[in-house]
């Protein structure tokens, strides 16, 4: 009898396609929603809850809503349940969009928006070339142009001065968010690099800056910038109230951004620094070409999180008497002509939809960017 022989494969097994996956709606339902008694109960309860919440909302906003009219009369005294009072929004739309920006000058705001959109859209679509020129126009030239257009002060070419205390509504919300966003990211990057620097004084100053701004509430910052700062600064240093708030918000958001970016920097292995250093790329080139592109990509979710938080935090400027979208809305509630049971809910629903739409757009675009930048491995 011969012992167990060594195994030698005679022919190699060729690759086969994977077995057909069972699919279809029913299977998906069974696997995801009804994979057991407990899960089935959960599914039914969740659907019931959703319906219970969704149905009254839809009824209020759409079905029972009043769509036309010119005063509160349209929204009160009708039979049936109370619905949203949309004429209120229509009547106040100009204020929500521009505040009390002079009516004859509102085209300047529209033009600013238009230029913004024209510059932003090609920047967001990856296929469109000239990204560097485009980015320069949007992030550097556009703010200056927008400033000239919105503030004005050139009677002779038809751009009279419009004081910022007349600005309001969505205009203020967008100005503060936009400046906060494009100011806080570079500031945050510099602070994060500073905090990881080998130079002790740079590091110390960055740490002090970050910890200071993270340690005080935004409301305090706004109060200080608006009411206290003028006492400390000499009489001739009159800074516009909106500009003071802008600077406060930017520095505040920059400190948060710095910590987000620092997290990304910490995730880059030391070998990347060494590889780049050995090639003779100095500190800044190493950072710009090797480290930051990787680090920022890692923290896109965190960066966008900060952007969205900043966007919604702009509503706090109401407490220093700057009327952003939400502030303008509340001013509208005080109007005797529009006091109805539904005004408050209609107004907040309207503001909620706008804030949600913008935040959600930012979030989805960030997700798209994240997937686009994912390196194949």
């Amino acid at each position: 009898m011969t012992g167990p022989k060594a195994f030698v494969r005679q022919e190699l097994i060729s690759a086969l396609p994977p077995p057909l996956m069972a699919s279809g709606v029913v299977l998906w339902l069974r696997q995801r929603l009804f994979s057991g008694v407990f899960n089935s109960v959960l599914t039914v309860v969740s659907v019931a809850l959703l319906a219970a919440l969704l149905w009254p909302t839809v009824r209020f906003l759409l079905i029972d809503a009043v769509w036309s009219g010119s005063s509160r009369e349209a929204c009160v005294g009708q039979a049936g349940p109370v619905g949203a009072c949309w004429p209120f929004i229509t009547a106040k739309l100009t204020q929500f969009a521009y505040g009390i920006y002079p009516e004859t000058e509102q085209w300047r705001v529209d033009l600013t928006y238009l230029i913004g959109v024209v510059l932003l859209v090609p920047l967001l679509v990856p296929r469109i070339p000239y990204k560097i020129a485009n980015a320069f126009l949007f992030f550097a030239a556009y703010p200056v142009l927008a400033y000239l257009l919105l503030v004005g002060g050139y009677e002779n070419i038809g751009l009279p001065h419009v004081e910022t205390r007349l600005w309001g509504g969505l205009l203020v919300t967008l100005v503060i968010s936009f400046m906060g966003i494009i100011g806080s990211l570079p500031l945050g990057i510099l602070l994060a690099l500073g905090r990881r620097s080998d130079l002790p004084i740079v590091r110390m100053l960055s740490v002090i800056f970050i910890e200071f701004w993270r340690g005080v509430p935004l409301i305090t910052v706004l109060f200080f910038a608006t009411y206290m700062l003028p006492f400390f600064l000499p009489e001739s240093w009159k800074i516009d109230p909106l500009a003071r708030v802008l600077i406060g918000v930017t520095l505040f958001a920059g400190a948060y951004m710095a910590e987000v970016v620092r997290g990304g920097l910490a995730a880059i292995p030391r070998g990347q620094f060494e590889g780049s250093t050995a090639l003779g790329l100095g500190y800044w080139r190493t950072m710009i070409f090797v480290i930051l592109p990787q680090a920022l990509k890692h923290v896109i979710p965190g960066i966008v999180n900060s952007f969205i938080a900043l966007f919604k935090d702009t509503t706090l400027v109401l407490i220093v008497s700057i009327f952003d979208l939400l502030g303008q809305l509340r001013a509208g509630f005080a109007d005797q002509n529009w006091i109805t049971p539904a005004t408050l809910f209609t107004g907040f629903a309207f503001a909620g939809i706008i804030y949600f739409a913008i935040s959600f757009a930012m979030s989805r675009y960030a997700l798209y960017t994240e997937q686009r930048l994912a390196v194949p491995r």
Binding site: L281, F289, P376
Partner: protein
């Protein structure tokens, strides 16, 4: 070959050979380095002539990687001098940049930039450090990728390549700066056994072209084939320096004998 007396004893007189300065590629002169209290490099002196291939071996923790990382100042040291191609490495950043342009380095873990394609990895430094036009840099990169026999991978990302291919890209990337001296820090240690040969072959062909090379490696077959001199380090010091023939057949120091007996079983 460039035969040099062993600098084991680091004779004081060896330093003033200023006439042959151009022949000396790297002059390491009584370098001492500490990590905190730990004395990693102890009185290390070594003179590497142009065109020489030095293979440094020794047990782990003996300071061999630290030593070659000092040559392009990725690591700093506390005492002693290192002169690379006539430029002394001091705290002067200009001198350091100058040396780094002339010295290429290949790492154990490749350290390729994962967010850039192979071609971009190779052109980054020529474009931004040497200020070559993009077209020239790309032509040069393709030339060296050809040289390491992976021209077809130019547009892939490092993560899509095998370890051996990545290491060859790393060699090409270093060569794109047209360095006078190449440092290899355990270039095959992180590779699967089947990929070691392709990297070593690339290094052999580089050696045959007369490149000055400092290689930290335990690939003794490679060492026998290309080394002009072998260096054995232990506990932060150079224990033995000799030609490969005598190094392998008649090691002088006890530590060398022990080391060789352990790795050449």
């Amino acid at each position: 070959m460039n035969e040099k007396p062993s600098s084991k004893a680091a004779p004081a007189g060896a330093r003033d050979i200023r006439t042959t300065r151009n022949e000396v590629a790297v002059d390491i002169d009584t370098v001492n380095k500490w990590y905190g209290q730990f004395h990693v490099l102890r009185d290390v002196s070594l003179k590497i002539m142009r065109g020489e291939r030095i293979v440094i071996c020794g047990p782990s923790g003996s300071g061999k990687s630290t030593l070659i990382r000092c040559i392009n100042r990725i690591e700093n040291w506390q005492q002693g001098r290192i002169i690379v191609d006539g430029t002394e490495l001091t705290d002067n950043l200009k001198a350091i940049d100058e040396v780094r342009r002339e010295v290429g380095m290949v790492f154990q873990h490749f350290n390729l930039f994962p967010h850039l394609t192979v071609l971009q990895n190779c052109t980054l430094a020529p474009i931004w450090v040497r200020h070559s036009p993009k077209r020239d840099a790309e032509a040069l990169a393709r030339h060296y990728l050809e040289r390491v026999r992976i021209p077809e991978q130019a547009d892939k990302y490092p993560g899509q390549l095998s370890g051996g291919q990545q290491q060859r890209v790393a060699i090409a990337r270093a060569l794109c700066m047209e360095p006078k001296i190449m440092l290899f820090d355990e270039p095959t240690s992180a590779l699967d056994p089947e990929m070691v040969k392709e990297v070593l072959d690339t290094m052999v062909s580089l050696a045959n072209d007369g490149m000055t090379m400092l290689v930290v490696s335990h690939e003794m077959g490679f060492a026998r084939q290309v080394a002009s001199r072998m260096v054995l380090m232990d506990a932060g010091q150079i224990v033995e320096v000799s030609e490969p023939a005598s190094f392998f057949s008649a090691p002088q120091h006890e530590r060398t004998k022990l080391f060789l007996s352990q790795i050449l079983r």
